[in-house]
Amino acid sequence: MNDFIRCLLAALLLVGSCDLFHASGEDDLIELEERALQAAVAKVAPSVVRIETFGGLERVGNFVVGDGPTTGLVVSEDGYVISSAFNFVQKPDSILVTVGSGRRAAAEIVARDQSRMLVLLKVNTDEKLVPPVVSPRGELVVGQWTLAVGKTLDPQVPNTSTGILSAVNRIWGKAVQTDAKVSPSNYGGPLIDIQGRVIGVLVPMSPQATSEFAGAEWYDSGIGFAVPLDQINAHLDQMKAGNDLHRGLLGISLPKGSIYSEPPKIAACKIRSPADVAGMKAGDTIVAVAGKEVRTVAQLKHALGPLYGGDEVGITVTRGDERIETKVTLAEKLLAYEHPFLGVLPQRNANGIVVRYVYPDSGGGAAGLQQGDRIVRFAGQEYQDPSALRAEIARREVGGNVGVTVMRGDKSLDLQVVLGTLPNEIEAELPPAHDELPLEGVRNVEVGVTEIKIPEEPNTCVAVVPVDYNPRIEYGLVVYLTAPGTFQREAFADRWREAGEENDLIVIAPQPKDAERWTRTEVDFIKKAVDQGVATYNIDPTRVVVYGHQAGGAMAYLTAFEHRDRFTGVVAVDAGLPLRMQLPDNDPISRLAIYTTLVKSSPIAERVEAGIEAFREMKYPVTVTELGSPRELNAGELAELVRWVDALDRL
């Protein structure tokens, strides 16, 4: 008990209160505590400024922008104030900051931190501002008192909310968490300790999303975040110089699977990415970042999360038994990755890599590759398997010149091929993908129109499997997501039966639980249905496509992007991208091709076109079929689409 009082008194002394009084009993203890908290707020108050904005948007998306004052925190004497990007979403025409003397001064945004969603303001004043004392990060203890301070309710006196520190390493290491009430009333203001020292700047934040609003829906919920002030100060000079800060990117692809268990073994390094420049290679495993050990993908994300583009960081990788130390300068932006293309389709069920078809306009076509050639060597390495060659091509660069050795009959030919880009056009005709393969043994799976049943899921799933299903043949898988309220089992089976039998396709149609609508969470069920299909039938992983019509199209995008490792194609008919969807970067390993219809006169045309443009900018291959009116594909278009699926195993 005496210790409590002694320490609280110490806290009071530290914050400069001379108000000594007799402390006896519990009641006085609470009073001591109350006074310590009040003194802490009084100590930071001169550094907390009120910001008023004028003009700008009234609404951003569905969000109605508040027009009241917001809060900022002084970070240096010479007029710099940091605040939350949330306070400026409306892009105000003018900004006023009330400085210590009570006078309003004009301010402007100098730089933005796009990783932590902060803005730095420069206040046009001769007055010396009062920066706060930093609470050192190393001293933070979960459970300690924290106060969230804003200056929105009253022009003179800060508004405060009391809570404790809930966690120290949130949002990939970018924030600390508190249960004090954090809301637009104090976004941009400080989170302080009981000594009035600043722990961080209050911001809305979410581990999943990155917009200015992300996390604002959690206001006053007991979950609030603050960006540590020492992290802000470390990059203050950059921001003062007018440079925006961005998340630091390494430029590697990581293994599929759970981020909490997979070790961070590099699946691919993007060309000219920081990782590539530093000499990392596919197959290397990252074992330490800045001297700190990392064992899983999640730990790697935590270690890199707080870093910015331009930051230099030591990364240790292991390559076989070798341990390699690298120095990496992280990038703000990576060059969009584009898949190089040799220009051939491989024969299936062949011995080695036999050319089924040569794209006439491709690099391979120009170099004189021919149908029936057997590719044996690529860039000096021998290959027998199309998937290994595909992975190697993915590590190359578009425009790169590669030596390819083929066997034509019993002659060996050395060709020089310039790698091109994946085609967006659909070939008019393709030769058969494989020789006749007689059925061996018995078929022990359901064929024809059948059901895929997933235990414990209320949804159903219809499947159309060729009646001559042959387990020796690799089938493509089309996952059809119906426009809600339109599914007819018979029509669906008729539509796909023949196409499936002629082109080695299995088509499944997972159904929404409520026939009238899809819900986002049904992505999980769709994934389970696909897994079940893959487990039951012989499916070629390079030809798994999710095809959605109208609202089913939005689901198709969601499903494909959530399960990049599963799908290689997404087809959207009369559907745009789901609103506010963030497109992931194109990835060397997980290929994804897009097929979309476009109806210029349709109300969603603008959204569809914006999506096409976004995909193209990110170097995804996009095939667009223009239709005169919004409708499902007709028989001819469907046959074309089936050829598109058939060619997804292209090299």
Binding site: F4, A11, D27, V142, L153, D154, N159, T162, I164, P184
Partner: protein, 336 residues
């Protein structure tokens, strides 16, 4: 080193604050709760709950609560902490400070003395007593929330900032006090000393968040005293009081109210006759008349009754609520 010690003290304190509640706040809570009442009246349905909170302010059964639609009925029921139910009389209200005073027929009640009310500084620990969400029924005790004063500020720093008619000083609270039914609750310091009346649900238009606030007793005390002294009340229907030979009427002023179909139809203006005194004064349809010459117009019949005591040659001052604004107008009947 010192710093680290204090951090750990803070950590320890945050736990005992819960663990030791029995020895600090419990007697205070036990002392306050008998003074709290639950109030039931008009309303019902989503967003219009038919209940609110209040507390006893005299041994003879005066109850302070917030002025709201819940009181728009003849049948306001008050349930005391011990479960006793009373039919309450609305003796008066002051919409300007959002309060109303009820009276029940009881004696020797535990009560707060408004004279002993205190002021709070930002950062002070507080306890908020109310029947939020009507969690407590019958003789169950009111709910208690613990928090602190976040700020003391005026509710209307800017016009229209808050959807409230009250624009005076208020305590903004660091606790989720202002929930359905909590209006009229008591805010005390950690020793149980009365400080404020918990307000209604209120959205802060400046930043689109919900605001937790309470109105200091010092802001409402005068109104409460006036009500108890007989002002700010509906005009009593007193046989001893003489009505003027030619009284004021709504028709003379050009005011048409919405049809008086309920026992206590709120006096909303349905229409304003063109070129009438009402039209000239700027009165508008949908205005709700709150006061007539400082007499509370709790209903259309109260309003007509109040007018019947005013001579037609005298001034009529109306306090009306227009949206969330209070507007005062002065009217004279036209010469004959």
């Amino acid at each position: 080193m010192f710093a680290r010690q204090c951090c750990s003290v803070a950590l320890l304190l945050s736990l005992p604050a819960v663990g030791r509640a029995e020895s600090t706040f419990a007697p205070v809570v036990r002392d306050v709760q008998p003074r709290m009442v639950k109030i039931y009246g008009a309303g019902g349905g989503r967003g219009l709950e038919a209940y609110q909170s209040g507390f006893v302010i005299s041994a003879e059964g005066h109850i302070l609560t917030v002025w709201s639609y819940v009181l728009d009925t003849e049948f306001v029921t008050v349930v005391l902490d011990d479960g006793r139910r009373f039919q309450a009389e609305l003796i008066g209200a002051d919409p300007r400070v959002e309060i109303a005073v009820l009276k029940i027929d009881a004696e020797q009640l535990s009560h707060f003395a408004l004279d002993d009310a205190i002021d709070l500084a930002p950062g002070s620990r507080v306890l908020a007593f109310s029947n939020l969400f009507n969690v407590a029924v019958g003789d169950e005790a009111a709910s208690v929330l613990h928090g602190s004063v976040s700020a003391r500020t005026r509710l209307a720093a800017r016009r229209g900032a808050f959807e409230s008619a009250y624009d005076g000083p208020a305590y903004v609270l660091d606790a989720m006090t202002n929930n359905p039914g909590a209006g009229g609750g008591a805010l005390t310091d950690r020793r149980g000393r009365l400080a404020a009346v918990v307000g209604k649900e209120l959205r802060n238009k400046l930043d689109n968040t919900w605001l937790n606030y309470a109105i200091p007793i010092s802001e409402v005390q005068l109104s409460v005293e006036q009500i108890i002294d007989g002002e700010l009340r509906p005009q009593p229907d007193d046989p001893d009081l003489r009505r003027p030979a030619e009284p004021m009427t709504l028709a003379l002023l050009g005011i048409v109210l919405i049809p008086d179909v309920l026992a206590k139809t709120p006096p909303y203006v349905d229409d304003v006759v063109a070129a009438s005194p009402a039209a000239e004064s700027g009165l508008q349809p949908d205005d709700m008349i709150l006061f007539v010459n400082d007499r509370l117009a709790g209903s259309a019949s109260d309003l007509k009754n109040a007018l019947s005591y005013i001579d037609r040659i005298d001034e009529v001052r109306l306090l009306v609520q227009r949206g969330q604004q209070l507007v005062e107008v002065s009217l004279f009947a036209p010469d004959e």
